[in-house]
Symmetry: C2
């Protein structure tokens, strides 16, 4: 089975993935479980099917990639950096690097973020699945997931999960 490149992240209703200061404390539910689906979001199960994580340099700097120690973490960076532990720093074309990686045998590839990194993959139209958790908040300002000037990508809905007012929507390419 072909390895998939899967974008998976949370965004506000107005499309932000972090607040102005890069903060995530708004990424919470609405405190009510009355609309929850029976199916729950199982992040650990998602990670079981992943062996490569792709992230931008900002994510690395924020120390939020520590829970992926058993995976290869590809970090896109504009400057030369030395690989260490499970981190591989990619100064070359990150999309091309991931597409080469995908040709090798392995599990799925988790496109972690942030927005600038994701944009490269969206514009190359190489994202196979999109899992978005829509947080019940209009953030007003912050760091956007989707940048401008992309192409249209038609999707189909594969699954939905509701938990605590968060809508987790899974799509793949139509």
């Amino acid at each position: 089975m072909k390895r998939k490149i899967i974008l998976n992240l949370a965004m506000s209703i107005d499309g932000y993935i972090a607040d102005e200061n890069g903060g995530y404390d708004w990424i919470v539910g609405d405190g009510s479980n009355h609309l929850d689906t029976i199916q729950k979001w199982d992040f650990n199960k998602f990670l079981e099917n992943v062996d490569v994580v792709v992230a931008g340099k900002n994510c690395y700097d924020q120390n939020i990639l520590g829970e992926y120690k058993d995976k290869k973490v590809l970090v896109a960076t504009s400057k030369e950096m030395e690989d260490h532990d499970n981190y591989r720093f990619i100064k070359d074309d990150i999309v091309q690097t991931v597409l080469e990686e995908r040709k090798l045998p392995g599990k799925d590839i988790y496109l972690f973020g942030g927005g600038k990194l994701v944009d490269h993959f969206m514009k190359a139209d190489v994202v196979d699945e999109i899992i978005i958790g829509i947080i019940p908040t209009i953030l007003g300002k912050g760091i956007p997931l989707f940048l401008n000037n992309g192409q249209e990508i038609k999707l189909k809905m594969d699954e939905y999960i509701f938990e605590n007012g968060i809508a987790i929507l899974k799509y793949s390419k139509r």
Copy 2:
């Protein structure tokens, strides 16, 4: 019961409400009904509880307000225009006008769009309910719903409906 100001529109996953040319032909489902909820989206029922529609001048110019003949349609405009039929042109502060309207007895107030008009209401934090139909498409570019530099508005999810791959999410203020 207090009249509510209800934002109700469709947007792409990346937050656009119209394509670059103002077009809406991408506002369709994914062609599959296997995830449909039993509950369907009933636009006519929604309209039954509405007696005022608020829209921007662009929407008026596009002739897409014709189905609201039995309602008062408030059109925000920057220049002096003469009222006709059910259209009232508002050159003054549209938010203030709608808030005055809300004090009178009546049904709910449907905030139709577009983005610039909606932004005034979001920034004044006077939108009571938000019903967003998320179209299973990443549009890439177009006319955004949410502009920048707003304030954070915490919401709670009140209902969800799925139809043909479109997620209809209803929120009110937390």
